[in-house]
């Protein structure tokens, strides 16, 4: 979707503000926001792609004025409601009212180290060979899906060169919506700065994205 999250090339956000000796967290609630989000992810009820899409669906004004942990919490509330674990009433009250859905697992303290060390690999074997080869020129489709996509707007319709075939991975655009993992080949596609940003762009700049095969067409 053409949501507020798709920020590449937007203007008006001011200077980057690196913080000297930035702490891991800026308040106690941020620690809890991180940990609750990861704990609930371990239910196995939604994919990382669905959670990313929930964040993208936060209305633009709220998204752009929120800290990233606030974005996480707002999306987590949506996911917990959508999958029946809590109700909006319960979130408002801050207390349990009814039994909700049962997760496949609840993350206990003794599981944390193993779960974090394992992560969630999303490479998947694919019997079909890649459609494109390294060095080939391709155009990124000019598409505007209303659901989740990992094709940023600035790359759409642009011609780039396949630098590397990175392997085959779960297709985020489908997986975010429960349509299955439907793995595809993923390619690193590199663009000259001028192809993307036109006149006046930095002549020394190249930008790459990692693109699923269905984003690409031959030129």
């Amino acid at each position: 979707m053409n949501g507020p999250h798709d920020l590449g090339g937007q203007m008006g956000f001011g200077a980057v503000a690196p913080e000297v000796d930035e702490p891991f967290f800026h308040s106690e609630w941020e620690k809890r926001a991180l940990a609750i989000t990861l704990s609930c992810g371990a239910f196995g009820a939604w994919s990382i792609d669905e959670s990313r899409h929930a964040r993208e669906c936060i209305p633009p004004a709220a998204y752009l004025s929120a800290s990233y942990y606030e974005i996480w919490i707002r999306a987590l509330e949506v996911l917990l409601e959508r999958h029946g674990f809590v109700t909006a009433d319960e979130i408002d009250l801050g207390h349990r009212k009814t039994a909700g859905a049962e997760p496949k697992r609840v993350l206990k303290a003794d599981m944390v180290a193993a779960v974090l060390a394992k992560g969630g690999p999303c490479d998947r074997p694919l019997s079909d060979p890649p459609r494109f080869v390294a060095g080939q020129k391709v155009r990124l489709l000019n598409i505007h899906p209303t659901g989740h996509t990992r094709l940023p707007r600035y790359a759409r319709g642009r011609i780039g060169t396949i630098e590397t075939i990175q392997g085959s991975f779960v297709f985020a655009d489908d997986n975010a919506h429960g349509r299955g993992e439907n793995p595809q080949w993923v390619y690193t596609v590199v663009f000259d700065g001028a192809e993307v940003w036109g006149q006046g762009s930095d002549p020394t700049l190249t930008v790459s994205i990692d693109a699923w095969e269905s984003y690409l067409e031959p030129v």
Binding site: G8, F13, V16, C40, L64, H95, V112, G167, I209
Partner: protein, 220 residues
């Protein structure tokens, strides 16, 4: 699509006024934690263990060890170039948001810089949790269109002819920049070298620290 408009029906609960979102995050997260605990859906001790992991175990010192080894050991550098996931795992760094790693090497001609314009993708297994600026709109919007001005805000001025390659982490590959090895560090140990490798130098918004003339290997 769910959003929180439906909560306007419940604005009589004074802890949920939307105009006070910022000051209310503490209460909002505590309420969520309470509900989830009462339902047996989270284990408070697990939450503590997660926080402790990212405060004490998984952070940019991991990445610095990878870079220092790559500087000191050409065979490891080659492995890192070919199969970063395996090379990094050999040092014990695996897991969440580091499942599919790629290492990109700065050269005298090319400077690499990593961004996620669409969210906050970041190589947690080697760098830990991302800093606020990495997740914020200013960096995400500008890194791909005007990286030189972004670098200037970090105090980095590259030669005008230096090529800049920006890697937008749009899929599940996570990028680690291997900065150039500073001059004057020939006889340094990997432990000493690692002290020169900052978090930002592995994102590409900084260079590795200079050796400060400590030709004897110094005590950084």
């Amino acid at each position: 699509m769910h959003d929180h408009d439906h909560h306007h029906d419940h604005d009589d609960h004074e802890h949920h006024h939307h105009d006070n979102r910022y000051s209310n995050m503490e209460a909002r997260v505590r309420a969520l934690e309470t509900v989830l605990s009462e339902k047996g859906l989270i284990d408070p001790a697990a939450l503590d263990a997660i926080v402790e992991t990212y405060e004490t175990k998984v952070g940019p010192r991991n990445g610095a060890r990878v870079v220092a080894k790559a500087w000191a050991d050409p065979a490891f550098a080659e492995w890192l170039r070919r199969d970063a996931t395996a090379a990094i795992a050999s040092l014990g760094f695996t897991g969440r948001q580091g499942e599919h790693m790629r290492a990109v090497f700065n050269t005298p001609d090319t400077h690499n810089m990593v961004v996620c314009t669409l969210c906050s993708c970041y190589p947690w297994s080697v760098l830990g949790l991302p800093p606020v600026w990495y997740k914020a709109p200013a960096y995400r919007s500008r890194a791909v269109i005007d990286p030189r001005s972004v670098l200037a805000e970090f105090g980095v001025a590259l030669p005008e002819t230096m090529k800049i390659r920006v890697w937008d982490s749009t899929a599940e590959l996570r990028y680690l920049v291997v900065p150039q090895r500073p001059d004057g560090t020939d006889n340094w140990t990997q432990e000493q070298l690692a002290e020169l490798v900052t978090r930002d130098s592995m994102i590409g918004t900084a260079l590795a620290h200079a050796a400060h003339g400590a030709a004897d290997g110094g005590t950084q």
